[in-house]
Symmetry: C2
Subunit: 454 residues, 2 copies
């Protein structure tokens, strides 16, 4: 526990007010002081505590269990009620030993990460020439047997965008590419990382095998500079030979769970405003931006929305989901377990987009409620948020609730640099922008406060 | 060979002129075009070729031998004469398998690199609690036995500076720390990387054991974010336990060598203007900034200084040194081998400071020659170089020549970000600023041309 955690919430609240005034009045001139001040704020302190005291927390592992223990203790310490874990099991996966290299024309080790869910290579590794494919769409056009005896390398680049919109296109090769390559005879799939940086980090991420494709092949991502290297060798007419030696393991019935914590409503305790983030992370970094930041934001926002008296009219619930990265299992488990009371969720919001400032406020609420939500939007304008549309998907973990009719609000964060760090070993606490976390937290808090006290 | 390499030197020369005009007139507005243009220039194409076709080239390994083969072929192809290798042997070292982690209070893998020259840990690894030391100077103050049974962790940060001046202070813990820790009973030394970035890369680099300290202990660097993690755990009162499992190997009589290439002088062929860079690199990256950039600069500058006719009055010699990183062995070997003709070296210059723009012109020449060298300085002013002092050390590889009285010129490059990448896996071609390389090359060329034709 950091010493600063011992401040009272009242002190914290005063600090936050002071901070917001400072940040608004003197954003440029007082930057170093404001940044140091923001690191004393609760959102940052929560990310610091989670990433330092627990660290990486891959779904289904003892580290994720340690994160649940951390969360229960932290949430109880902050005054939440009804703090408990709702366990479930998943098909687990661990990375194990992994290594990859270019073995010809010139030997070079690669920054590699097996994709989550991938099978292992044979013991001793798999060495084969590369079939270079410029884009995933080009790979899909290839005929049966086109890649027989080859390791397919897919070279697609991801586009940088504030709203992260480059991801859905770029991620297809990672999610589905292995079976598509296997259909066409490939021995393995290697992709240019789904990420916007030019650092020597492989971006991890989940994949799955299509049921109708019997042959499973190993799948891995390499860093962007390594992909550049293969691209250059290919452009110069070389046949590139890769060796992959990846030994992930699958685990049957691995334990995971969601952590629930409430600030009970005083007037309508059965009605719930749900704030979501996910507790699990990929294993390579310490999950600071993904999704330690979200954990910090929603925990602090819930307290801020409830006010110093901790007496909102409706219940404000924080759910820290398990096993998001490996298939959004926590989100599905919560929706299933609470199916009978889904209609009591008056709003769900999720923070899972890193450490960027909030810039857009979107909704997905009944038409009749739009005047109420538009009024909230006007409260967010001074924080720098513009009004988005009424088609927000909310986020992955609350997706199941949204599909069941729960209204959602999306606080759009600036994701311009999010995919520089996303799922890499470089996702660590030093990357957190504490000032931005304060601003995002305030946006979440204003929405939650208005809806909880409506 | 990249297609662009097939341009003639005359075309190259015209391009360079056009480029310099463009860069000077429209540096800001035409940046993307200028950058693309600069990548067609010889300095960049040389770095691209070396890093792509050879890649990492650790001293004493087959990869360094491949770099010598590459250099001979490249230099002959560019029209240099007397191209040959001057072999020597070194005490070699290879990294082998390495892994490190925090095992308590919470498990986390560390980005680690054994220091060059370090012995291995025992098979199965070495696990011990950390003795946290804030600075290297604090460690030196500790008494005998102060670290018995502990792994010493030294937390010094390196200061960022344009002239790289933070390095000499910060590097002491890396160069000499192991024996100082061993004197005080430590089982191993772990240092915060000597680097200015906050990325999850360990910075490699050489170390040596003091002869008078009998007990050798393993030594390694961890990334700055990992060091932050240990620092935070320590600050919160935790005892941090590390596991180190590092298996470098020492090699007796490993082959290395210097590659020499001349543009013979037409009037005084026995007088030599020597341009130096080093061909070896650390093993983790592909040695683009260290020292592929230097190789690109000096090879292109030699040709540019000689002019399209390739007829300088004095001989312009390029020396691509071997085994610089592991003890400046190439520099020493050259000085020893050519001891009889040292006095014929009228000037030596070295490029070994990455991809930053040249900003300072320093000399270390006889007083009587200062008017001549000051005049050269005035030719460099339009390129943005200021006149430094007459105390330049020239650089590591030409240090032995300088000590024997050879005049040297130092072209100071902007090193503000050099130590973000230095000796890491992230030192790859994408980091090269091709426009800056053109400017530095031009500065080297102007000096070499003036001295060669004096």
């Amino acid at each position: 526990m950091r010493r600063a955690d011992k401040r009272t919430r009242a002190q914290s609240g005063l600090f936050v007010l002071a901070f917001l005034v400072l940040a608004a009045c003197a954003h440029e001139t007082a930057k170093p002081d404001a940044a140091a001040g923001a690191r004393e704020g609760l959102p940052y302190r929560i990310v610091a505590s989670l990433t330092t005291e627990v660290g990486p927390r891959l779904a289904g592992t003892p580290a994720e269990a340690a994160a649940r223990d951390w969360a229960v203790k932290k949430l109880e310490g902050l005054g939440f009620k009804n703090v408990h874990v709702e366990p479930f099991t998943i098909a687990g996966w661990t990375r194990g030993h992994g290594h990859a290299s270019i073995v010809a024309p010139a030997r070079q080790d690669l920054a590699v990460a097996a994709l989550g869910g991938s099978i292992a290579t044979p013991r001793g590794g798999l060495t084969a020439p590369v079939a270079f494919v410029a884009t995933y769409d080009e790979m899909l056009k290839a005929g049966e047997g086109a890649f027989a005896g080859k390791i397919v390398f897919v070279n697609d680049r991801m586009t940088r965008a504030r709203d992260g919109s480059g991801y859905s296109h770029a991620v297809r090769k990672r999610s589905k590419g292995a079976s598509e390559a296997a259909r066409r005879g490939a021995l393995a799939l290697v992709i240019r990382s789904v990420g916007t940086d030019s650092d020597r980090f492989a971006h991890a991420g989940n994949m799955s095998y299509a049921k109708e494709v019997k042959r499973k092949i190993p799948a891995a991502a390499i860093s962007n500079p390594d992909a550049d290297q293969i691209e250059r060798l290919h452009a110069e007419g070389h046949t590139v030979t890769l060796k992959l030696d990846l030994h992930p393991r699958h685990i049957v019935d691995a334990p995971s769970g969601n952590v629930i914590a409430d600030i009970p409503g005083t007037e309508k305790p059965d009605e719930i405003v749900l704030l979501a983030a996910h507790l699990d992370s990929w294993d390579l970094g310490t999950g600071a931006i993904d999704d330690g930041a979200g954990v910090g934001i929603v925990v602090a926002a819930a307290l801020r929305a409830a006010g110093p008296e901790m007496k909102p009219k409706r219940t404000i619930r924080v759910v820290l989901y398990g096993a998001e990265e490996v298939g959004v299992h926590g989100g599905d488990a919560y929706a299933k377990r609470h199916a009978a009371i889904v209609a009591r969720h008056v709003l769900a919001m999720e923070a899972d987009f890193g450490t960027g400032r909030a810039w857009r406020y979107s909704t997905n609420v009944p038409e009749a409620d739009l005047p109420f939500y538009d009024a909230i939007g006007r409260e967010l304008e001074p924080l720098g948020l513009e009004r988005g549309d009424n088609k927000s998907n909310g986020g992955p973990d609350i997706g199941a609730l949204r599909k069941l009719g729960v209204p959602v609000v999306g606080i759009g964060q600036d994701g311009t640099t999010y995919f520089d760090l996303h799922h890499t070993a470089n996702d660590t606490l030093d990357k957190i922008d504490a000032e931005a976390l304060e601003q995002v937290t305030e946006a979440f808090a204003r929405v939650a406060r208005s809806v909880a006290n409506r």
